[in-house]
């Protein structure tokens, strides 16, 4: 658990920079942008301080907003994502003493559950993000395609980052 928190603390500024300097400049086929920084929210331990998680999520979004000149868009998306995260997690994982304090990862909840959890979170994030940014019904088709494309590429980069970082065997607090 402590090792996970340390990894996340080091990753926090790196994710902001990675998003601002690399991912923000990627737009595959005019629809797919990777949102690497949601990795922090995805991997933030379940059962750890919720207030801290919401605060860090908000600040994470705000930092990316300042870099991308989109004040409020990412801040709101990240806060909403952090708010809905436990509900999404327990939709795929049974709620019991074992899963009360757990860091969502492949090794802790298994491949299938982790993929379902990640895809759901990425879809929710992209949908909120693009709906806020393109705030009009006329852009509905664009929002849909961008959500699909960006969810797919976000899923890939998050799984990629997962495979790069040392796997955590610790599942319990």
């Amino acid at each position: 658990m402590n090792k996970n928190i340390l990894t996340l603390a080091i990753l926090y500024p790196l994710l902001i920079l990675g998003q601002a300097l690399i991912c923000n400049h990627i737009m595959l086929f005019n629809v797919a942008t990777p949102f690497l920084f949601i990795y922090f929210i995805v991997r933030y331990p379940i059962g750890a301080s919720r207030n801290l998680e919401l605060t860090l999520a908000f600040l994470l979004g705000l930092a990316v907003d300042i870099f991308s000149d989109t004040p409020g868009v990412n801040a709101l998306s990240c806060t909403l994502l952090a708010g809905i995260k436990p509900t999404v997690f327990y939709a795929y994982v049974t709620r019991d003493d074992k899963t009360k304090h757990i860091t969502p990862s492949i090794s802790s909840i298994g491949w299938q559950n982790y993929c379902k959890y990640l895809v759901t979170l990425a879809t929710i994030f992209c949908l909120i993000e693009f709906t806020i940014e393109y705030f009009s019904f006329t852009a509905f088709r664009d929002v849909l395609f961008m959500t699909l494309g960006s969810t797919a590429i976000t899923f890939l980069v998050v799984i990629g980052l997962d495979s790069l970082l040392p796997a955590s065997k610790t599942t319990m607090a």
Partner: protein
């Protein structure tokens, strides 16, 4: 009191959540192009510093494309200079007047000076795109100045910090530019509708205006931001009419926003004079 405290502690997550959602909504609603603050934009010193450092590395990318484009632009400028020289020589021989070179057009061009700047951050994927340049108020940059690159216009300075400035790109749905069909009196408004960063639209073109595919669109010169005649793009085709009296032209932009690197910020030496005239007018009305 104790019950109230217990209640707040028990539901603190909900309070924190609501607080951040409201704060984000305030940020979203206050995102006004005109009153944008330096702190919350990419022109602040921290983000500016990060982008400057990163552009030290990425500035070398795309140099091959930029070089080719510069050479093409150079060739066409040389051509134009030759033509102008010939034209001036012709006029001189006809009028036989030594002052004939100080035509109004020459005076108009000399009115604008420029500050060279490098683009250190750029985006094309949002509906409201901005880019950041490595020059700020200390270099003489002010809000409202026009920005061009060697291909044509690219934007208007929106927020200026001491060392960096944020520019509203043409690729911003909220920004409109006054443009003209070259060598005709027909003026329209250039706007970008999102999506493809190479395509924009010239709106409010009068119904009787004549044009051909490939015709050049230039700045109208009706503001202190851009002089007349800076390239904007070329006409691709006409889009369905939305009004009986006007139509919309689809324009291929001449600037390539994916390889934006060195730009010039235009300084109008008449700006203060024109602004003071505008305020004089208001005072006179009062």
């Amino acid at each position: 009191m104790r019950n109230l405290l217990n209640f707040i502690i028990r539901y603190s997550t909900w309070f924190v959540f609501t607080f951040y959602v409201l704060l984000s909504c305030i940020l979203l609603s206050q995102h006004d192009e005109y009153h944008a603050s330096v702190v919350l934009s990419s022109a602040n010193s921290l983000t500016g510093g990060v982008y400057r450092a990163a552009s030290g590395v990425t500035g070398y990318f795309n140099l091959r494309d930029i070089n080719r484009s510069l050479q093409e632009s150079n060739a066409s400028l040389e051509n134009e200079i030759l033509n102008l020289r010939n034209e001036i020589a012709d006029y001189k021989s006809i009028v036989n007047d030594k002052d004939s070179t100080t035509a109004p057009e020459v005076a108009e061009i000399a009115r604008f000076d420029y500050i060279l700047a490098s683009v250190i951050n750029n985006s094309t994927r949002h509906p409201r795109n901005y880019f950041t340049i490595n020059r700020g108020t200390l270099d003489g940059i002010k809000r409202g100045m026009g920005v061009v690159d060697h291909n044509g216009i690219v934007g208007i300075v929106n927020v200026a910090g001491p060392h960096t400035a944020r520019v509203i790109s043409i690729l911003n749905e909220t920004q409109h530019f006054s443009v003209k069909l070259k060598d005709t009196p027909y003026v329209g408004s250039l706007s970008w509708h999102g999506g493809d960063p190479t395509i924009a639209y010239m709106e409010e073109v009068p119904r009787h205006a004549k044009y051909r595919i490939g015709d050049t669109i230039v700045t109208s010169g009706y503001s202190t931001t851009f002089p007349y005649g800076i390239n904007v793009g070329t006409v691709m085709n006409r889009v369905k009419m939305t009004d009986d009296n006007f139509y919309i032209l689809k324009i291929r932009l001449s600037s390539d926003f994916n390889t934006l690197s060195t730009v010039r910020v235009l300084k109008d030496s008449y700006k203060a004079e024109l602004d003071s005239l505008a305020t004089f007018d208001i005072k006179a009305d009062e």
